[in-house]
Amino acid sequence: TRINKVVLSGFKSFQKKTVIPFFDGLTTIVGENGAGKSNLFDAISFVMGRRSSQLRADRLEQLIFNGGERHSPAEEAQVVLHLDNQESVFDRFLGNGSTAPEITLGRRITRSSSTYTFMGRACSRAQVDEILEAAKIDPDGQQLIAQGMITDIIKKNPVRRREILDEVS
């Protein structure tokens, strides 16, 4: 599979609905300090199920656009991930032999609720894990490296490092 598109609204510094298409090859994300690059990284981690502590927040509600100085805060944060299904890797989740060129995984939080969606319909966290696993995506895997975390594998205690290899085998 590959990421076709990321759609965010109300997530961290992305106040309004923002659509970001992704393509094959090497894409770089650039911009000044504090612009929102790592927030975009967090959005992708968030929709794939990472916890608030891995997203530089103490609680999920801190992920909702807080208004800055000039705006009012958002009511909710939502991120939808569009994943390519042209190789049919997700077909078994689509029901009744149907297929689709792409699937969507979403996650929405308000100050008091947190929901996951698959193809726009509510689903459980466990189902999201299962869907991602079908495409060999591990939200906690070594393919998603947050800022400052590249040497984490070096600093890890050897048993935790071996557990990473357990996950892989």
Binding site: T27, T28, I44, S169
Partner: protein, 149 residues
């Protein structure tokens, strides 16, 4: 399963050493169990850059540690085949020569999987197929597609 773990370890170690040699232009690296054969013991990283005495991993420089970590991550990928890498400023500690080596390797992986990299480094951006610029105005972020030519 003990057998499957040891098989994975062997396969990943071969890749780790190969990728390490490419990033360091020599030297050797390996992954070993603290207690050989005991799959519940920890996993050690042995990294030996060219012309240096293999040493405590901590005494490697910032840039050397980044390259060792990248070699490990890429070695896992050769085994796992995840559909994308999303890497936030992994080039921060690298000098120009090593940014170039790492970027060439990322460009190579980008032929087979999706690679998304956040970077402040012009040399990294030079290797990209496309770029998105993120800007902030009045506390709100916006994303623009940039022309790389």
């Amino acid at each position: 399963k003990r057998g499957r773990f040891l098989e994975t370890l062997a396969a990943v170690t071969v890749q780790f050493d190969r990728i390490f040699k490419e990033l360091f232009q020599g030297g050797t690296a390996s992954l070993e169990l603290e207690t050989p054969g005991d799959i519940s013991s920890g996993l050690l990283i042995k990294a030996h850059p060219p012309e240096k005495e293999p040493h405590v991993l901590d005494s490697l420089s910032g840039g050397e540690q980044t390259l060792v970590a990248a070699a490990f991550i890429f070695a896992l990928q050769e085994y796992q085949h995840a559909p994308f890498f999303i890497l936030d400023e992994i080039d921060a500690a690298l000098d120009l020569m090593n940014v170039t080596r790492l970027s060439r390797m990322l460009r190579d992986y980008a032929k087979r999987l999706q690679v998304i990299v956040v970077s402040h480094n012009e040399e990294t951006v030079r290797h990209a197929d496309r770029a998105y610029g993120v800007t902030m105005k009045n506390g709100v972020s916006q994303v623009l597609a940039l022309n790389l030519n």
